[in-house]
Symmetry: C2
Subunit: 340 residues, 2 copies
DNA sequence: CTGTTAGCGCATTCAA
DNA sequence: TTGAATGCGCTAACAG
């Protein structure tokens, strides 16, 4: 063994095996037939030198990065975390690496990351937008790289998209909430700028239309998908210190985090769920099934979305898929204790 | 503008600017003085061609990856997600990229990832172990790369470590729990193989020793840091359908997820927290402050741990830091509603 | 089937 | 100060 600190290269292997460099390369990549005799010599040399191919060199030569980027606002949101895991699971075994880029939920650091990603010359990007805004940085990226949008659509952007059927999901969970017999529903919608928020809202409206409740009797609040905003909305809905039977008897929150905020406030003022008020969410984050009462919600196939988005991206990179494919995966209703 | 699909290279810039390639390189990296006249010409050429340096080539030349790896069991654990965010925030602005590798909490996919990471020739690794086991893959990695262990220590491993002071944190939260006046405490510890679990356990024992309660009167259960295992432990602790005042009056769970499991079971059997039973956790995951009652726990500086670990790693890569540095960051007690 | 050769895009010697 | 030349480690023609 001679291993003077420097890792072995293809050249070293060729020398030790007594064959040409290109033969080693060809054998290792099985890009052409190599006679059994040489195969053995090469294999031995590889083992002897503990040769590990240098992907940097290979990628430079092949003009690719063997890496895709994930642009995501934050990982603290368990839904995004699940998405990331789905992406990773698709990548596993492909030899493609995942480069993580957090933009912050405000999207302020987006610019810096965009330039970093351009320099890294990644093969493609899975982008999860938190703002719903089409920033110039993002636009620029989409021009240069194969990009698949996950979870959140962006208006008028000619990019592939994988998400879930927010409207149908919203409708199904709202149907359950309305079936409780309550007549004074409130909706806590998400930010106007987000496609998911608006899609869910239209699902809620469909359900309302089928319930016989006048649109006019429905209270509409807005939140920004955070726990704090859900709590704040609940306080507007139930301003009293103690629950007295007034206020909405159904609260439809546009995501689980906001529903948690509602649950929190209701318990504090002494209203019981689902007896006094029925509450539903959206997302099915893990805690939805850990709290008391467990939360009725709709499960988005976060893992699948990540997986499918990556699959689509990989195919786009290989030139197999169109750049404007759109996939909406089905959601699944989870009826639990917060509805009756 | 001539942009026939192919991105511009240094050579193109040199040609357009009418200077030598090496001059452009030197100017862009400010590695030597360049006359003002040439500076202008180079700048113009860069702008005209929309030149973006190819990091792959640069990295090949400089024998580095400009990327570090994060090896983490899963992102679904919000604590790990926060750690990852801390890592990312340290990296932001350095031009170093983060490559994500999920091993799965069982550690089965570890082997495959290790080989991928070796091929990618990353500059270093931040490793979060879920198993506490020292696998051969990991050992191999540590030999080859600068590695910093975050959160979880590994026995007899000569690697740098950044985590929090689990023992003191555990002691402080146990002190609060025991101050409730209860005399029948139960501890739900984590897996024996994990250093954090054992460190917390010894902190609990310290608190117990100071409380006058006989070690003998303490019930010790084991879980594996999951919600399900916390729930299971709670069912062993309180096997009855309805709470009748028997069973532990203090439950000290080794992490928040397990504490959530306990809370869930207690509510189901009709025990109230903190009146009947006091419950504490560890980690301060976001939901700890969203549920009812809010959970008394100890906050680990997850973000800081990630940040510090990365800082240490970067310094190790630059040859500034020793490979066996150990940092234990202070925890912070969060007294909330689940204790009285 | 195998070896020789020419770059991928860049940083860095060495002369000028 | 600047320019010309060399090679990082690899793949993919090309010629044998």
């Amino acid at each position: 063994m001679n291993d003077p600190s420097e890792p072995a290269t293809l050249k070293d292997v060729a020398r030790v095996a007594g064959v040409a460099l290109s033969t080693v390369s060809a054998y290792l990549n099985s890009t052409r037939k190599v006679s059994p005799a040489l195969q053995v010599r090469i294999r031995d040399a590889v083992r002897e030198l503990d040769y590990i191919p240098n992907f940097q060199a290979r990628n430079l030569r092949m003009k690719r990065a063997a890496s895709i980027g994930l642009v995501v606002p934050e990982l603290a949101n368990p839904y995004f975390a699940a998405l990331a895991e789905g992406i990773e699971s698709r990548l596993s075994g492909t030899g493609v690496t995942l480069t993580l880029s957090l933009t912050g939920s405000t999207g302020d650091r987006e610019e810096a990351h965009a330039s970093l990603l351009r320099r890294a010359r990644l093969d493609g990007l899975v982008v999860i937008s938190a703002t719903g805004r089409t920033t110039s940085a993002l636009l620029d990226l989409i021009e240069r790289f194969p990009v698949v949008l996950a979870d959140e659509q962006l208006p008028s952007l000619n990019a592939a998209f994988v998400g879930s059927d927010n409207r149908r999901g919203a409708r199904s969970v709202a149907d359950v909430a309305l079936a409780s017999g309550g007549r004074r529903p409130a909706i806590i919608a998400g930010p106007r700028s987000l496609w998911t928020a608006e899609a869910r809202l239209s699902g809620y409206r469909e359900a309302l239309a089928g319930s016989g409740i006048e649109e006019h009797d429905v209270i509409l609040e807005r939140g920004d998908y955070t726990f704090a905003s859900g709590l704040a909305a609940a306080m507007r809905l139930y301003p009293l210190e103690r629950y007295d039977g007034s206020g909405p008897d159904i609260v439809i929150a546009s995501n689980d985090l906001m529903a948690l905020g509602v649950l929190r406030h209701l318990r504090r003022i002494g209203a019981s769920v689902p007896e006094d008020v029925v509450v539903v969410g959206f997302d099915d984050i893990p805690v939805a099934d850990m709290i008391t009462p467990t939360l009725t919600t709709v499960s988005q196939p976060a893992h699948d979305i990540g997986f499918t988005a990556t699959d689509l991206l990989l195919r786009t990179i290989d030139g197999e898929a169109l750049a404007d494919e759109r996939v909406e995966l089905p959601t699944e209703l989870r009826v639990r204790e917060s509805t009756r």
